[in-house]
């Protein structure tokens, strides 16, 4: 059963009208014509709607309850998955899953946030909001990948790191910071794919990679549009304004060099056709892993460091100094 977002209501209405006409089983020519005309109109409407999405609409698609998650992609793309659990320090965090799997004839270490689909599963997965033990499990798996010289693939889809008393007590900030530092120096190729919601530090903790890719309607931001609206506008209803101001969509982040490429989604979003989306993901991953596998590791590490080092935008006041502007360049 398809779930419609608010802005998809006109599509829903039209689809309902067509369904009614079809159901009438009328043999009248006029009905037949009406169905044909409406179907055409629907296709045009859909085309236009999704070609002109606002950043706020995109963020709604990115958070769609039926949005494909890491489990879906693993199911579609990999075999022989051995899931690995626990951080060996405190516990098992089900907001992040990971393990070894076969993908395109390679053994890879794969991990990512899992929000869950049903309410029960969402609660078990804490809505994809990891605690320190989640990030520490991810780091443990990355270190294993380094030991066995297996490339790392991460899927990012989280509202953010969990803001709770227990998470703070166990060092949420330290866990995220440690991942950033260790990932820069990991001696294996890393690719990160932002599949849905790239929520701040909790996303970046799996995002320090040689190539950062984003699905067409995914978002990646320093803060949620709601959080930003509440802090800067003092008004949570300004979320759509904040979503635009934050430049959190894939095309805008490509311009800012934060990401390297965009993975196309089927019309209406990834949830409309999982196997097509998964195929698109797999194809682009193959291209980039092939590219990375040709680069000697010391060079790869230097390039990874430089990639993040060059992110930012600033100028120098010094007379005659060339305007330093690394982003947009």
């Amino acid at each position: 059963m398809r779930e419609y977002l608010d802005f998809e209501k006109p599509l829903k209405d039209l689809e309902g009208r067509i369904a009614k006409l079809v159901k009438s089983k009328s043999k009248k020519n006029s009905v037949h014509e009406a169905i044909e005309k409406s179907t055409e109109q629907l296709a045009m409407m859909e085309e236009e709607l999704f070609a002109n999405l606002t950043p706020w609409q995109r963020s709604q698609i990115a958070r769609h309850p039926q949005r494909p998650s890491i489990s879906d992609y693993l199911e579609e793309l990999t075999e022989n998955m051995i899931e690995l659990h626990g951080d060996r320090l405190y516990g098992e965090d089900r907001a992040i899953i990971g393990g070894l799997a076969t993908w395109n004839a390679r053994s890879i270490m794969v991990m990512g946030h899992e929000k869950g689909k049903s309410l029960k599963e969402r609660m078990r997965r804490n809505f994809g909001m990891a605690k320190p033990e989640g990030y520490r499990k991810a780091l443990r798996l990355m270190k294993l990948a380094e030991k066995f010289q297996r490339p790392i693939l991460t899927f990012i889809d989280t509202p953010g790191a969990y803001p709770g008393v227990d998470a703070e007590q166990r060092g949420q900030a330290e866990a995220i910071a440690r991942n950033l530092l260790e990932m820069v120096k990991l001696n294996v190729p890393i690719i990160a794919v932002v599949t849905g919601e790239g929520g701040s530090g909790g996303a970046l903790a799996l995002g320090v990679a040689d190539r950062v890719l984003m699905l067409e309607h995914a978002i990646y931001s320093v803060i949620s549009p709601e959080g930003c609206a509440a802090i800067l506008w003092g008004d949570a209803s300004k979320s759509s304004t904040a979503a635009a101001a934050l430049r959190m969509t894939a095309p805008e982040l490509l311009k800012l060099n934060v990401i390297d490429d965009i993975i196309p989604e089927p019309l209406g979003g990834a949830h409309r056709d999982l196997s097509l989306t998964a195929k698109n993901v797999s194809n682009i991953l193959e291209t980039y892993f092939k590219q990375l596998e040709k680069i000697p590791l010391p060079t790869l590490l230097k390039q990874r460091e430089a990639k993040f080092r060059n992110l930012g935008s600033f100028s120098s006041l010094q007379a005659g100094a060339k305007k330093v502007k690394t982003a947009n360049s």
Partner: protein, 284 residues
């Protein structure tokens, strides 16, 4: 007149900085009304509960550096407005306002100085500049300071106070966390000491990158330190937060920091610590 103004200030949701302008101030932590001059004479420490009030950046340098040894680096770096961000005010205006207010270009001061004759590279966050938030310039200045530390074999000392990543630079601010972490990894490879002093308050993306990566992490008494802000946590868990939550003492109890150091002994503690870590002579 003055009396009314003051009492109004005291009743409002005070930030310690605003209150510092009056003759009397109210301690942010113990709520005692204290004589401002007494606090100033006492290194801005509350005489009742020993809460360490925020220090101005110049005061911090004076406290830590041997007289006349501080040399600033990269003072010429200024922020751009890559997102052309505008909320209730354009980002450009916010930058100008902060620059006018602080007479500085950005939310961090970097440079070198001597601490009891040990030469160190330092970074000091400035909370009065847009809440000490980390955008592209802050990230770049930290990286450049660390580069110099690696070249000159200096320890790196970072004094933090920040609300986190700067929202007005969007995902580019988020990326400064990875960028600074990569510089710290180089410091680690060069086996140079990295000492962090957490001061009130340190939050968000700054805690989750540079602040928590110190080889040695010190904090000032009663400083608030965390990843998520207390209000966000309260809204999420819909419960009152435990007493002393996210204070330096709480972090010490949970194994997140090495020591809480009072300002009176901060400089000598740092000097001894740096000597133990291989900078300067072995402490006598």
């Amino acid at each position: 007149m003055g009396w009314f103004k003051r009492s109004k200030q005291e009743n409002s949701k005070e930030s310690s900085v605003n209150i510092m302008e009056g003759m009397w101030i109210k301690c942010t932590v113990c709520r005692a009304i204290i004589f401002k001059r007494e606090v100033d004479r006492n290194l801005k420490v509350c005489p009742k509960c020993s809460y360490h009030f925020p220090m101005l950046i110049a005061e911090r340098v004076e406290l830590l550096a041997d007289a006349g040894t501080f040399q600033e680096w990269d003072a010429d770096l200024v922020p751009n407005d890559p997102l052309e961000f505008e909320d209730t005010l354009p980002y450009k205006t916010r930058i100008q306002n902060a620059q006018r207010k602080t007479s500085r270009q950005e939310a961090i001061l970097t440079g070198s100085c001597q601490i009891q004759e040990i030469t160190v590279a330092v970074g000091v966050f400035d909370f009065s500049f847009m809440g000490g938030s980390m955008g592209s310039v802050v990230g770049e200045k930290i990286c450049r300071a660390i580069d110099r530390a690696v070249i000159d074999h200096l320890p790196f000392l970072l004094v933090t106070t920040s609300g986190g990543a700067r929202m007005q630079e969007g995902t580019l601010s988020l990326m400064q966390m990875a960028k600074t972490a990569s510089a710290i990894a180089n410091l680690q490879e060069a086996r140079l000491p990295y000492v962090v002093l957490l001061t009130d308050p340190t939050f968000g993306g700054v805690t989750a990158s540079v602040a928590m990566l110190g080889d040695i992490i010190l904090a000032e008494p009663k400083a608030l330190i965390g990843f998520a802000g207390p209000r966000v946590i309260e809204q999420t868990i819909k419960q009152r937060l435990p007493e002393g939550f996210q204070r330096a003492e709480f972090l010490l109890d949970h194994g997140m920091i090495d020591q809480i150091v009072s300002r009176k002994v901060l400089k000598s503690t740092l000097a001894t610590l740096l000597s133990h870590c291989g900078a300067g002579a072995v402490p006598a």
